[in-house]
């Protein structure tokens, strides 16, 4: 997530090469038939996607494209929350309904828990959220504290970032850092410096939304560098291919960060297809679109690849809190078309 969507018109970010962007096809223009053969048999893990704002169609398409597992970081829902209850409901949905919904489409759902940087600026509310956060970060299937870090780079953001780093340390959980859209380079450096200052091993930290300007420093300092393929505002996948060509697969991972904005939940399979077209070795593709995310977030002890690596069993007649994903008249797949209903 995390695009700055307050602008009315799509805003090519300061790091984007506008000339190149206009020439290369955006990954959102690639149709399924154009690339499905290229990624046949590949498995993908999206370590950053906000499914709470996506539809069932997305889940179906993701499953069809080979995405077997994902991580949903707790973040900004597009408008400010007004009280603690909405935070509780949101966090509960990440380990509850959304996890269930995902399972119904053959995708294993994990999440990271945290107080996001924007909302850290509402200090009275942030204080309350910090009180209940320990009750969420230890829940089953929570693979990290995230996404946390800076947005405006205010003192309040720094305060809650530091507090949450301590929480992560205490809970022995990886940290997922959101790097800011504005003044990204400085924000990224500052985020890393603070994490090191708190004595956190950089191999436990995933720095997100990198670009050509930040990647070298992130890798040199021993952190994981995650890249978000997100139209207009973050990485394009043409650029992503070049990054992988230049830096190789070590400690690099790709995500979609798809959310309520103009974003693409299929960004990973499409980027994999593009990498394949450009002759990047299969093993490199596997590392940056699947394995590295598992290695990084697996430090939480909460990821068992046996749950998804050989497919994920789906029973759409299952219920969560008495509710099914099926709405009036819909039948669990495979469709059973009986005339007589007993």
């Amino acid at each position: 997530m995390c695009a700055n969507h307050t602008e009315i018109t799509p805003n090519p970010s300061h790091f984007e090469d506008s000339e190149e962007a206009s020439q290369a096809p955006a990954h959102r223009d690639i149709a399924w038939n154009d690339y499905k053969d290229l990624i046949k048999g590949m498995r993908f893990f999206d370590p950053h996607i906000h499914m709470v704002s996506r539809t069932t169609d997305d889940y179906q398409a993701m499953n069809q494209a080979g995405i077997v597992a994902l991580i949903e970081p707790a973040f900004w829902v597009g408008q400010p929350r007004t009280g603690l209850s909405t935070f509780k409901d949101y966090y509960s949905s990440l380990v509850g309904w959304e996890r269930f919904r995902s399972s119904q489409f053959g995708i294993k759902h994990y999440c990271t828990m945290g107080l996001n940087s924007r909302e850290a600026n509402n200090e009275p509310l942030a204080e309350q959220v910090m009180e209940i956060l320990p009750l969420y970060i230890y829940k089953e299937g929570v693979v990290g504290v995230g996404e946390i870090g800076f947005d405006d780079q205010t003192p309040a953001e720094e305060k809650y970032y530091r507090l949450q780093l301590e929480l992560a340390k205490e809970a022995k959980l990886p940290v997922q850092i959101h790097t800011p859209h504005r003044d990204k380079k400085k924000g990224t450096e500052r985020s890393m410096a603070i994490a090191l200052e708190h004595g956190i091993d950089p191999s436990w930290v995933i720095v997100d939304h990198n670009n050509e300007e930040t990647v070298k420093s992130v890798l040199d300092q021993g952190f994981w560098a995650a890249f978000t393929i997100y139209p207009f505002t973050k990485m394009g996948n043409e650029r992503m291919v070049k990054v992988v060509e230049q830096y190789g697969p070590e400690r690099i991972m790709i995500n979609s960060a798809a959310d309520w904005g103009i974003s693409d939940p299929l960004a990973i399979p499409k980027t994999a297809a593009l990498m394949k077209m450009r002759g990047i070795p299969d093993e490199t593709i596997r590392l940056v679109t699947y394995q590295n995310a598992i290695d990084a977030f697996g430090k939480s002890g909460q990821i068992d690849v046996a749950d998804f690596e050989s497919g994920y069993a789906v029973d759409q007649s299952e219920k969560f809190h008495g509710n099914s994903i099926l709405r009036g008249g819909q039948q669990p797949a495979p469709v059973k078309d009986f005339l007589v209903i007993n």
Partner: protein, 297 residues
């Protein structure tokens, strides 16, 4: 709540945990009167948030195996709190319940707020532990809304935690809430004989509602589990007597047995008269060869 029950639960935990697991629980800084682990320093008193966090984190530190309890342990628990049982629980569930018993109840407002926060933030397995712990919590009246809500919720495991083998509803539910619980158990095709206090809380309203319920089922061409008629015997009237006749006419042997058992318990002379028409059944009921236990599945 007595310290004895906490200690009894701890003893079961101790016999089902590895040294590392037991140490983790102790390191949570829990105060355990009368309990000492060899080689482990006496723990201090944990703050509520430490206990609550341990409650959430338990699956990260404890195995998910099902615990084993001896007959003596079972009897001891039942002696302290009649109807309370931990049979078939996982170690995590038991440890969570035990952690809840360590919360200091002396400041009521604080105590209630902490438990409420756990309910508000709980995922499904945590809810199961919270509802399982209701008979052990202080200020039992405070949890009535939560408990009746669990009956309403349709969450399978959570429903079981409040409805089956749990002495809380028998003790604290209103008649309306109790009847809902029993009906919902029947509706969900779960065995009512696992509800604690089934006999004690039987009532005429429930018996009559059950008749309506059965009529709906029969109209839809479905049946009602035979043992649910055990809730009607004492309250047989003309309406229910007609239901008994329906059962005696059923093709299912269990239905006929249920009718015989219900009639035999009825003070209504017409019920005895009806039963007398089915000589074999009457004989097995009167001789004690047939009991409700035969219909428990």
């Amino acid at each position: 709540m007595s310290d004895i029950i906490k200690q009894k639960i701890w003893e079961i935990i101790a016999s089902n945990t590895s040294v590392t697991e037991a140490e983790w629980l102790q390191q949570k800084g829990v105060s355990m009167p009368g309990v000492a682990m060899p080689g482990v320093a006496t723990p201090g008193v944990a703050t509520p948030i430490e206990l609550m966090t341990a409650f959430v984190a338990a699956p990260r530190f404890l195995s998910k195996k099902i615990i084993h309890t001896s007959d003596g342990e079972k009897a001891a628990l039942n002696f302290e709190i009649p109807g309370f049982s931990v049979d078939g629980w996982s170690l995590v569930r038991l440890a969570r319940v035990w952690l809840l018993t360590q919360l200091d109840p002396s400041d009521k407002e604080e105590y209630v707020k902490n438990i409420e926060t756990l309910f508000d933030t709980a995922e499904m397995n945590e809810l199961v532990a919270l509802y399982s712990a209701l008979p052990l919590l202080s200020y039992p009246d405070q949890w009535l809304f939560r408990a009746t809500d669990a009956v309403r919720s349709n969450m399978g495991f959570v429903f079981d935690a409040i409805a089956l083998h749990n002495p809380y509803p028998e003790k604290y539910f209103s008649e309306l809430a109790w009847n809902q619980l029993v009906l919902k158990t029947i509706f969900n095709d779960k065995p009512i004989h696992l509800i604690e206090g089934l006999e004690n809380r039987s009532n005429e309203k429930l018996a009559m509602t059950l008749s309506d319920f059965a009529h709906e089922r029969w109209a839809a061409g479905r049946g009602v589990p035979a043992q649910v008629w055990r809730l009607t015997g004492k309250y047989l009237n003309q309406t229910l007597l007609a239901d008994m006749q329906h059962l005696f006419d059923s093709e299912k042997e269990e239905d006929r047995k249920a009718a015989a058992l219900a009639c035999s318990e009825a003070p209504l002379p017409a019920a005895q008269y009806l039963l007398a028409k089915y000589t074999d059944l009457e004989k097995s009921v009167k001789s004690g060869a047939l009991t409700w236990a035969d219909l428990e599945h």
